[in-house]
């Protein structure tokens, strides 16, 4: 079993090292997923001593100016390079995570070269998924169907080209697909998320579905939550499904797709994921994907009242 120390930015968490140590002592495989901003070399050293197994650093682009622009943080690119070097020096395997969207999709090859130069043994090429902040910026981020198709072919060729040097894992974009992804491997089947406040979610975006009731680790044991919390029970198995999912031969493969996306597009969290060509809302999805605008990125920021030095 694996624990991902993720975010947002896990470096913002003061007790990160203690969490990592406790997970390691419990026999879990520990994985830090960071932007590199907020993880000092010293903090990485402490995590390493606490038994950290793996580090993933996200990059926004292969060109420093563009990377810092997308990250919205000057100096982010340099910080990523420094932390990557420190990860490699400590002998920890490094994965570079690349989120692909319209501003960098033409430079997938350069970004894989950058991952190699940083000493990564694995690179994750993930097309942006449009929830939360990516959803707010969808018009500026969504690549065209042609760009997305070309990137998939290119990644396939690069995987063969770099065989033995670096493993390339690709998360294919679902907004131009005909069938939905098996979101989180099935609701309440394989994974759970614990938020900074202790709420336990079946997937990281589950709080976008207003009807769900989440339990908190401060009030319930994790095993109790996994087995009995209403949010986990809501879409576990197939009793919740409607047509066309209910009688579909693919229902055990893709579990009806993503609940959050279904809610976002159709207003009904029990609907078929509109990515599915069998969904009556499939055309809405295509229309959404076709809306591309040139706007400035909008970033998540703490309200002024919550900001601390």
């Amino acid at each position: 079993m694996q624990v991902h120390l993720s975010g947002g930015e896990p470096g913002a968490r003061r007790d990160l090292v203690e969490i990592c140590a406790a997970a390691h002592d419990a026999g879990l495989y520990t994985n830090l997923i960071t932007s590199a901003v907020g993880i000092t070399d010293q903090k990485l050293g402490a995590l390493s001593d606490a038994g950290l197994d793996h580090v993933q650093i996200s990059i926004q682009d292969s060109a420093p100016e563009s990377a810092d622009h997308i990250a919205g943080y000057r100096g982010a690119f340099a910080r990523k390079q420094t932390l990557a070097a420190e990860v490699v020096r400590l002998g920890i395997l490094l994965t570079v995570n690349v989120v692909v969207h319209r501003a960098n999709i033409e430079r997938v090859e350069n970004m894989i070269d950058l991952a190699l130069a940083l000493g990564a043994t694995r690179v994750e090429i993930a097309h942006a998924q449009y929830y939360g902040w990516a959803l707010k910026n969808r018009g500026a981020l969504m690549p065209s169907r042609e760009q997305a198709a070309a990137a998939i072919v290119q990644v396939e060729a690069l995987r063969k080209h770099h065989h033995g040097r670096i493993v390339i894992d690709a998360v294919i974009p679902d907004y131009y697909a005909r069938f939905p992804k098996a979101c989180v491997g099935g609701w309440g089947q394989r994974s759970l998320n614990v938020t900074p406040s202790g709420r336990v979610l079946p997937c990281h975006a589950a709080e976008s579905i207003p009807e769900l009731e989440f339990w908190n680790v401060r009030e319930h044991a994790l095993a109790d939550i996994w087995q009995n919390a209403p949010a986990f029970e809501a879409f576990r198995g197939d009793a919740w499904m409607q047509e066309p999912c209910r009688s579909c031969v693919r229902k055990d493969q893709d579990f009806g797709g993503c609940r959050c996306q279904a809610f976002m597009v159709t207003g009904d969290a029990r609907a078929t994921d509109p990515v599915c060509q069998l969904s009556p809302h499939h055309e809405d999805m295509e229309m959404l994907a076709a809306q591309q605008t040139e706007i400035a990125y909008e970033y998540r920021r703490l309200p002024k009242s919550q900001q601390t030095g």
Binding site: G27, L93, R122, R165
Partner: protein
């Protein structure tokens, strides 16, 4: 690749761990975002990749322990370890 590397010492990098786990139902290789279930033969091979024994010694040991033809063992070991090394999960 391995033919001229019989003296090499296969070892797992940090972050790749072979564990015998009840939760996983036997021997598994834990790796970044991956978990490989090891069958009985693979587990015997991987257990010997301790960072001490050479490839040749591992093959000798397996041939002796399981009283099997050295060539067949050598093929199995080479195939498994080459594959893991291509995935960057084993150093040779």
């Amino acid at each position: 690749m391995l033919d001229n590397a019989k003296a090499s010492i296969p070892r797992f990098p940090r972050g790749v761990r072979l564990v015998n786990s009840e939760a996983h139902g036997g021997w598994v290789l834990l790796a970044p975002e991956r978990m490989f279930k090891a069958d009985a033969i693979s587990a015997e091979i991987l257990k010997r990749c301790t960072g001490e024994a050479t490839l040749d010694e591992i093959i000798d040991d397996l041939a002796k322990t399981f009283n099997a033809p050295r060539e067949r063992i050598s093929n199995d070991v080479t195939k498994l370890l080459t594959d893991l090394s291509h995935k960057r999960l084993l150093e040779l």
